[in-house]
Amino acid sequence: MKSFSLLDFLSLSKKKFFRAPQWQFKLAIRIFLGFVVLYFLVAFLFLGIGGYYLLKKQNPETDPIFLINSFLGLYFAVDLLIRYFFQARPVTEVKALLLLPITKRGIVRGVLLRSLGSIFNAVPLVVLLPFCIVHSIENGMTYSVWIWFLSIICLSLSANYLTFLINKSNKIAAVFLGVFTIGYFLDYFFSFSISHYFEMGLEFIYTNPYWAAVPVVILSTSILLADKFLRRQLFLDKGLSKKKERIIGSNLDFFDRWERMGFFLKNDLRLIIRNIRARQVVLMGVLFLFYGLFFFTQDQYSEMPSMLVFAGLFITGGFMITFGQYVPAWDSEYYSFLMCQNLSYRKYLKSKLYLMMFSVIVSSILSLPYLFFGPKVMLIIGASGVFNFGFGSVITLYSGAFNTNPIKLNIKAKAFENTQNFSFIQLLFVLPKLILPLLVFYLPYAFFGFYAGLLGLAVVGLLGLIFQKQLLNLIVKTYQKKKYQTIGSFNKLVS
């Protein structure tokens, strides 16, 4: 039997890309993202080179490698976590290959090889390679540096293959999560640091290069495990089957007390908790709640009220910004259905507006702990909350009328490949969404001081509430004008 080479896989990927609808547009975005990636690569390159001198300058006595070792434990933990959430696996595309005369071994190898191309694998390479070169130049060529380098790469690639197991099995994921949590608590309460032992292990390898065999063994074991695991998954009723899901969120009758709007809210909550893509996006929104910790803890920002307001807007509107920008695309899988139900466009859009307003209330309640940073911070959050509640919600809904890219609900978005829902019009709307509130704050602030700025935010929010009916009319009109176009592009969702 012919073995299925990497080249064949590449050719399939190429066709998939160029034959997709709007591929020219996607290509433009790829190029743009390519520049973003390039930027990061260069940044990492400088991090690698500059990092050596920086560490040397701070601790002239110690070998910088020891310093790097001390936080690699944490790095790998975070690395695994990010990979778990964002690294997509090419497993689902192999179904069509099963019946072709290609050995299963070939298919599995193709998948394993292809996963190497992930951006996550490039990070240690681009940071550590220049670092090691500088290290060798400064200290003379020692093979121990390069053994250490290869060990790190081995460990990073092990993470790459272990993600296959973690991703597909909740049990294994739970074990990893358990280890992380226990590790964290041991560190926090008993000063027993796993990361420290990890550091010692790496030091040991650095000073006794023969022990580099250990990472190599770890890597080969993870490859073998992933290989074996994937081979077992290559059946329609195993890894290639749709996972049977447990029903969650069936008991949300609590919301029925708000009649019609509660009913829509209930359905949108189900959408969020029952679909991978929605959960992913909402998680991002939740992370924005912690955004304030960056700004409120550092003294340098206390003199820059605009930055604090910026943080306040993100804290109270995080969910609205991340989730709300894809309204109505969240309903794209069944949009035509909604359009011929006994549900006027107005009621539908109103329900979405209420969802966003509801999210601002929830975020504002969850941000109460910021009271710890004083009443001033709380006022900022309060004013931003009122602004987002009354006006931000309207703007977000309005911008949704121009977003006609469909979303596949139950499929993970790939990191750096989130082209599916990236449109330039959305990018244009980022401006009013972010700049406008800052302007609303800044103008009265510049003339009448800090509290006038906050008052400005709150007043605009209240105005949005007062004129909500009129604004909604305008939004409905805009949506109606784009109705056929929206339905048309949502229907292009290939299932």
Binding site: I247, R270, M339, C340, Y345, G488, N491, L493, S495
Partner: protein
């Protein structure tokens, strides 16, 4: 019930559908047959205002579908699986439709019992999301969903496809019963000539966007259609 005048749809200059005049009276079971690409789904999409007509207009109960939304309260449709909400269970989906059409949860619970034979025990109480059901079972849930709240007009695209033989027979009975009991108007498209002639009292044959035949169903209709399609 539904009226199309001077209706046409063009895609980049090419006419895919042209219906000068079509009227479906209330209570009729209207069948639409034709090969792939004949324009069946296009016609239904125009009826439901999902695509914009190039010329002409569609009215449901004298209401222009393009300018008003007043036809929505008494119209229901099941075109394909995208008319289901994949992340709901069948019950939740029925409650959703019930809520939109003013039928309470309790009423739905009693009402769906009627359809237990049609569901064949594979829809209710399954603890499965609709997206995890088989194609046939999805279709069953979707078809029954259209009947919630006794809409006056029900549009079904290829309702017989993907169904097992027993369910096909039950579906024919279901459509006849509903039409008799509530005077429901059905618009049904199908590739299956036998089923559609059995269940509909009028058949329109579409080809390349034109209504070639418009016949009242008689015992000879099936033969007539078969001979047409075998040429």
């Amino acid at each position: 019930m539904i009226n199309a005048t001077n209706l046409s749809k063009k895609y980049s200059g090419q006419t895919v559908l042209e219906i000068p005049d079509l009227e479906v009276p209330k209570g009729q079971r209207f069948g639409l047959v034709g090969n792939n690409g004949a324009g069946k789904t296009t016609l239904f999409s125009l009826f439901l205002d999902l695509i914009e007509a190039s010329t002409g207009k569609v009215t449901i109960n004298q209401i222009d579908v393009q300018t008003s939304e007043e036809w929505k309260p008494y119209t229901a449709a099941f075109i394909d699986e995208s008319y289901l909400i994949g992340y709901l269970t069948a019950e939740e989906y029925f409650y959703f439709l019930g809520n939109l059409r003013g039928v309470s949860k309790e009423e739905i619970n009693i009402w769906v019992q009627e359809f237990e034979p049609f569901f064949n025990g594979e829809i209710l109480g399954q603890k499965k999301y609709l997206r995890d059901l088989s194609k046939g079972n999805q279709k069953k849930a979707g078809i029954v969903g259209t009947l919630i709240g006794k809409p006056e007009l029900v549009i079904l695209d290829e309702p017989f496809a993907n169904l097992d033989p027993s369910t096909q027979i039950r579906l024919k009975k279901l459509i006849r019963d509903e039409a008799e009991k509530h005077g429901t108007t059905f618009l049904i498209s199908s590739h299956d000539l036998t089923h559609v002639t059995e269940v509909c009292d009028r058949i329109v044959l579409l080809e390349k966007g034109l209504a070639i035949k418009d016949i009242e169903t008689t015992p000879e209709t099936l033969k007539e259609l078969e001979s047409y399609f075998s040429n």
